[in-house]
């Protein structure tokens, strides 16, 4: 038994050692906004939206790989590069957009915190301020890095969805067919459908992730020479994210959709998807997983936003600086958390809807960030021989165009 434990421990250590920025980013990607968006997609449309998963995965791999490569080759963050290559005004526009969308995501994370603990009957008026303060202090005091591994280990919770998906006895044939089939044409006239598709793309390929991933690669000191290993880290992470996403949709389709429970209004509804696995304890498992995912992302998002903005606009930044040395950095960080958590204290705010909405905003903003990344990744002076391949450009530009078209259609069908 002892030796078993030992070897198990050794294996875990080994696993954590090889887990790189790509895998971490992928895990943070399945945050509160992600879980709610995937759940909503499955509950509302059954297997119908599974066709999105393959194109989204391909686009995700291409986009994340570009971020990682930009970081490894230039040794600079995405906002630094945008500033250096496109000047102050464009950087300012990108940064303002980033702050607004990221703020939505931060709200979604705290909505995840609030709704997960609501399952235990705890009032959001207490837990949200407490959690916001804890997150703020964890990061500012530098304790965050030491507990990152705990969060990461706890995100093994996602495996539950895979098991739940299997135990729900979904119609495998229908699910598999829906994954490889082409989208039905009627979708483009349906606002709810378009809204969910944009949300699915936005939550999986979130703009903030590109800034975060590139910054992590730079911070880890990965250079063009060591990049090959990181590329695999990124690809594996992306595939893992989307396999989990696929199973969340399937689990929700097989449980919620099958029982005509089409609208997820609260975490309690979403938790039903785990019933085949955990029975009456489903809500407990769901609450724990959602809480971990939300806190994990809530610890990363505000600080990564503060870094990106300060680096792009040339303000002092860094946790090694004192408050008065980097006032903009600390204020931005603090305000994002305080306001993000504060919004949720509005009585009767629809937590799930707000979360999904923030992911749709991600999808709408994505093309803007992607265009900058594409221009940078094709800049020969910057990237030398590491510029984009033609295939990459085709996928990424298609994503840009598709998102613009989807957004336009969504706005047209909205009334």
């Amino acid at each position: 038994m002892k030796s078993f434990l030992k070897s198990w421990k050794a294996r875990l250590v080994l696993l954590l050692a090889v887990i790189g920025p790509g895998f971490i980013t992928a895990n943070v990607d399945n945050d509160a906004g992600g879980i709610f968006t995937y759940s909503q997609a499955g509950a509302q449309f059954g297997y119908t939206l599974l066709w999105t998963m393959i194109p989204i995965t391909i686009a995700l791999i291409v986009v994340q790989e570009m971020s990682a490569r930009l970081g490894a080759v230039t040794g600079k963050g995405l906002s630094d590069l945008i500033r250096e290559e496109f000047g102050f005004r464009l950087t300012f526009i990108v940064m303002v957009t980033l702050v607004i969308t990221n703020f939505g995501n931060i709200v979604a994370e705290f909505a995840g915190v609030a709704s997960s603990l609501e399952l235990f009957g705890w009032s959001k008026y207490i837990v949200v301020p407490v959690c916001a303060f804890v997150v703020w202090a964890l990061v500012v005091r530098g304790t965050y890095t030491s507990i990152e591994k705990i969060f990461l280990t706890a995100s093994a919770f996602y495996v539950c969805y895979i098991v739940a998906g299997v135990l729900a006895h979904p119609d495998w044939k229908a699910a598999a067919f829906a994954t490889v089939t082409r989208p039905e044409a009627a979708g483009i006239r349906n606002y709810g459908y378009l809204f969910t598709v944009v949300g699915l793309v936005g939550t999986t390929i979130a703009p903030w992730m590109q800034f975060y991933l590139q910054a992590s690669i730079v911070e880890k000191g990965i250079t063009a020479r060591q990049y090959r290993a990181s590329r695999w880290d990124v690809i594996v992470g992306c595939i893992f994210t989307d396999v989990v996403a696929w199973f969340i949709i399937v689990a929700c389709a097989a449980t919620l959709y099958a029982n005509r429970h089409h609208d997820i209004a609260s975490a309690a509804d979403a938790a039903q998807a785990l019933r085949p696995l955990a029975g009456d304890y489903a809500y407990l498992l769901f609450a724990a997983g959602l809480f971990n995912a939300s806190i994990f992302a809530a610890s990363i998002l505000p600080i990564s936003t503060a870094y990106a903005v300060c680096e792009g606009l040339g303000f002092e930044s860094g946790l090694d600086k004192k408050f008065h040395e980097a006032p903009v950095f600390y204020w931005l960080y603090t305000v994002l958390i305080v306001m993000g958590a504060g919004v949720l204290l509005v009585p009767r705010i629809p937590l799930v809807y707000v979360s999904v909405l923030s992911q749709v905003a991600n999808g709408v903003v994505l093309p803007l960030v992607l265009v900058f990344m594409l221009l940078l990744a094709n800049d020969r002076e910057l990237m030398n021989e590491h510029t984009n391949s033609r295939g990459f450009n085709i996928v990424a530009w298609t994503t840009v165009v598709a998102m613009i078209v989807l957004t336009a259609l969504m706005l047209i069908t909205h009334r």
Binding site: T74, K76, R83, F88, F92, V218, G221, T223, L313, G314
Partner: protein, 412 residues
């Protein structure tokens, strides 16, 4: 004299002596080989390609640039590594603010235009890193120029005078052509240099360490975060790395080499001078977290029969670090350690005083003493230096208090 912002000048229409519009300003160039701050020429986008408008033919500049003479005299612009292009190389880029001791991003560049005889002398005087430059760039073209000027005057400027600016350039040959030598940076305290370097991207770090004086580089390297230190040395070529490592304290050098991949440390050792190499290899043989791994082999020792003047001679010849001279060690005929004399006692005694009169017992430890026990000895005896002796009681090296502080701070 009057101030012109680079962002105002860029895109300005250019008129020649006849008043005809010839094009727009695309770039502003300095040729450091000729003059470090003077603008050599403006690059003008004309219908006939990019032309160089020499600053000697400038009559006035602002929203419109007026030139003396005819546009046909402007030569065609061909790209050259030897000129500093203010927009491309400076605007929005990171620079080192030597005075403020940090890395900052350039929001705008301030130029001074002074009429000289019949033309304008245009030169760089400062870079703007504050809100004034930022807001000017943001509102340019959206707000009428005079409103903007009135608005901007209310914002307190945050500028760095040009002499305190060190440019970052990663291409070594271009660095030479642009005469970038990090003169200002080199004069800073090594700990400040280290702080600045830690804020730079990897390629820029390498550029700094390739350029600055070896001795300064060595001291700055010792102050760097251990992880960054290793990556910097790995990025340098072995020849340059060896030059820097030679200048480091042997204990710090051994520490560093131990953390490098074996083939890299081997290459660096091979390039080092035999004397320094021997010292470092000796240290490398001991464990890193022991007294021997922490000690330096550069210390002051005198025969115990000597006088204060002998000790002063030894101090005069000593080339090691300042921390190491706090204690002068005494040895017997068999080179075994017999005592220690604090520097203070030497300073307050007459040259003829025998050292035996000033002698105190030396606190010593064995080479394999672990870190925590070393720290314990410093604490217990309030030491400034601790002698490390071999099995024959011969002095092998000393540990200084600053080593212990470093060790305690990085105890994890």
């Amino acid at each position: 004299m009057s101030l012109v912002a680079l962002s105002e000048l860029l895109g300005a229409t250019v008129r020649d002596a006849s008043g005809t519009v010839r094009g727009r300003v695309r770039e502003v160039a300095v040729a450091p080989q000729e003059h470090p701050t003077r603008i050599a020429f403006l690059i003008v986008n004309t219908t006939d390609g990019e032309r160089m408008l020499p600053s000697a033919s400038l009559k006035s500049c602002g929203a419109t640039v007026r030139a003396i003479g005819d546009a046909s005299a402007w030569e065609k612009y061909t790209a050259s590594d030897g000129v500093l292009l203010l927009k491309r190389d400076l605007l929005d880029q990171q620079i080192i603010d030597v005075h403020g001791r940090k890395v900052v991003r350039v929001n705008d560049v301030e130029l001074d235009s002074t009429p000289v005889n019949s033309h304008l002398a245009l030169s760089v005087i400062a870079v703007d890193v504050g809100a004034r430059g930022a807001i000017r760039r943001l509102t340019q073209g959206l707000v009428p120029a005079f409103t903007m000027r009135a608005l901007l005057e209310r914002i307190p400027p945050r500028v760095i005078p040009w002499q305190y600016v060190d440019l970052l350039e990663t291409d070594p040959s271009r660095r030479v052509k642009l005469k970038i030598v990090y003169e200002g940076l080199s004069k800073l305290h090594p700990a400040d240099i280290a702080d600045i370097v830690e804020d730079l991207p990897a390629a820029e770090r390498e550029a700094v360490f390739e350029t600055i004086d070896e001795e300064v580089a060595a001291e700055a390297l010792e102050e760097l975060d251990p992880k960054v230190r290793v990556s910097v040395v790995e990025s340098l070529d072995s020849d340059r790395a060896a030059d820097i490592v030679e200048e480091m304290d042997p204990d710090a050098a051994a520490d560093l080499l131990e953390k490098l991949p074996e083939h890299r440390s081997g290459q660096i050792l091979k390039e080092m001078q035999p004397e320094e190499r021997n010292e470092v290899t000796q240290l490398l043989e001991f464990g890193e977290r022991t007294a021997a791994g922490r000690m330096t082999t550069e210390f002051v020792s005198v025969a115990d029969g000597g006088t204060v003047s002998d000790a002063i001679d030894a101090l005069k010849q000593f080339e090691g670090s300042r921390e190491a001279v706090a204690t002068i060690y005494l040895y017997s005929a068999a080179y075994a350690i017999t005592g220690a004399v604090p520097l203070v006692k030497i300073a307050v005694s007459t040259p003829s005083t025998p050292l035996a009169e000033l002698r105190e017992d030396a606190i010593t430890c064995a080479p394999d003493t672990p870190d925590d026990e070393v720290a314990g000895l410093f604490d217990k005896y309030n030491l400034v230096t601790l002698a490390v002796v071999d099995e024959h009681e011969r002095l092998a090296g000393i540990i200084t208090a600053d080593d212990v502080i470093t060790m305690l701070r990085h105890a994890d």
